[in-house]
């Protein structure tokens, strides 16, 4: 049975319906970046017409950092809930009894988090642009915010940074046995890419179209690799029973090789540490 866009779509629709029924989830996603944006916005508005270019760069860099924090940080918590949350509310097992493939489930879940996270990021970006044009007294600020590399970075990095956080979050969610642990670990997942963003925002690297494209490509490859890792981590048996599946070359119905049994028993004896 092949990958089905219809099944993927069914999962995505379900996710979006759940947000619609619980708008609080999305509203709280948007609140945090709004709070963080207050300070850089005030800074931008207070920059006078004759301020040095380096001050303008720092202010704009800080603004973009916050703008890119949103798609990297916000989906992590929801993504970390995605699988372990279904498991805790008892809805995972019925899903797994259908022909749904793990790739379809995981992509549906990921898209369900990407859509609101990136949507919020783009809306915030638009709000900043409009506010700058209306209220900023320094023309260089308005110009810097509207630069091609900045816009390209926002457009490209928002979904790619969200992708990183989401795949790490879902990966944690497939292995965690507790929602709280998954969400706390998920939050930490957004730190590595943000470190790079911070370096760019504060001009340690000079922002350019080339740098934006290169960094975007690296993130894209990382997202694809992470997706494959998460798919491999998704173990129906473990999720349903809490026990690791003994996989056989042709699936169920055959006795696993003795070496596999010995390996599993050794892992069990050592509490998960594979000393071998």
């Amino acid at each position: 049975m092949k990958f089905s866009v219809r099944r993927l779509g069914a999962v995505l629709r379900k996710e979006l319906r759940e947000y619609r029924r619980s708008p609080f989830i999305v509203v709280t996603m948007a609140l945090l970046p709004l709070v963080f944006l207050i300070e850089p916005l005030i800074t931008i508005f207070r920059i006078g017409p004759s301020v040095a270019a380096s001050v303008v760069d720092r202010a704009v860099g800080a603004t973009f950092l916050v703008l890119l924090v949103a798609p990297a940080l916000l989906p992590a918590v929801i993504a970390a809930y995605s699988v372990v949350g279904e498991r805790e509310q008892g809805t995972l097992e019925p899903l797994l009894t259908t022909p749904l493939r793990r790739e379809e489930l995981l992509l549906g879940k990921a898209l369900g988090v990407v859509v609101p996270a990136v949507g919020i990021a783009y809306v915030l970006f638009a709000v900043i642009q409009v506010c700058a044009r209306l209220f900023a007294s320094n023309a260089a600020v308005v110009s810097a915010l509207g630069q091609g590399p900045h816009i390209l970075a926002e457009v490209l990095f928002a979904p790619l940074l969200a992708g990183w956080s989401i795949w790490v979050g879902i990966g944690i969610s497939t292995r965690a046995s507790d929602v709280r642990v998954a969400q706390q670990l998920g939050t930490l997942s957004s730190i590595p890419p943000l470190a790079v963003v911070a370096l760019v925002s504060f001009n340690v690297f000079t922002p350019s179209v080339t740098l934006a494209v290169v960094f975007a490509l690296v993130l894209l490859v990382a997202d694809v690799v992470l997706f494959r890792i998460v798919v491999a981590l998704f173990d129906r048996e473990r999720l349903i029973t809490g026990a690791r599946a003994l996989r056989t070359p042709s699936g169920g119905g055959q006795v696993p090789p003795a070496s596999a049994v010995r390996q599993i028993r050794r892992i069990e004896r050592t509490g998960g540490r594979d000393d071998g």
Partner: protein
Amino acid sequence: MVAETMTDARGEQPSGKPLALVVDHLTKRFGERTAFEDVSFSVAQGEVFGFLGPNGAGKTTTVRTLGTLIAPTSGSASVAGIPLTSDNGPEIRQRIAIMPENPGLYRRLTVTENLQLFAGLYEQRHAAARIGEALEAVNLTARAGDLCGSLSKGLLQRVGLARALLNDPAVMFLDEPTSGLDPVAAHEVNDLINGLRQRGVTVFLTTHRLEEAERLCDRVAILSTTLRLVGRPDELRERLFSRSLIVETLTPLVAPDDVFNSTDGVESWRPEGASSYVLSVTDPRNSAPHVTRALVAAGADVVSISESRHSLEDVYLQLIDEDPEASQR
């Protein structure tokens, strides 16, 4: 091939019907712990098959294994005519439905929205019509727009059954469908299972309610890590318990030995209370007239003569009593 070589331990096979489930020496272990071992049975199409056993006997793990949620450690099986392998998982799941003990519905979504999700997962072409039929089958059309979080447990079970009907499954696994329900709600669910039988759906029912299994199931299997018995409920009773008559007289018999030992068809007897007697007989229906005549001839005032009826519960308890591990789970 498995079906032809079936032994009596798997229970008498309903003749002439193709098999919906064939399980052959299936075993599942989690590390050192054995969930179930060397389980073999078969279920014909359209049969309601009861799967009984104490807590921890391996019933749910068996259902999950046959539903391709977990892989067996050894043995083989075919589900809805498809060999049980991990490669065949999606195909098998397309042709079966599993209703877990907890229906696992999204409480923030309506009944219809829950069913729309699963109709999508089964890639139903005419999802709206199919959902309408499923809701009608479980008498829930009027509650289609209600949030699942607002429904009672009985109604949630019905939504779970409607969900299980969406893909028109060849085999339906119902895991404790009446668990935690009040008698009225349990009765409604039983009526629905009877409805499934009439529609020709093969039902694999795990339950703790033995009277429910006796009433609903064509055959039952009793599992306690290993399969203890498979057969029709009446067969199991006969296999485990000798047939007997219970005689009650107004006053105790003066010489019961003389009365019963010389009566045709009575193999042995024992007193039960002051003026009651339990007679082991070869055939209760043929022996009852002989016993009545012997009692009247002895001048006894007969209050009643009845056949001793053993329920499926008696069979179950007898088997579980014989299993020392079951009481330790």
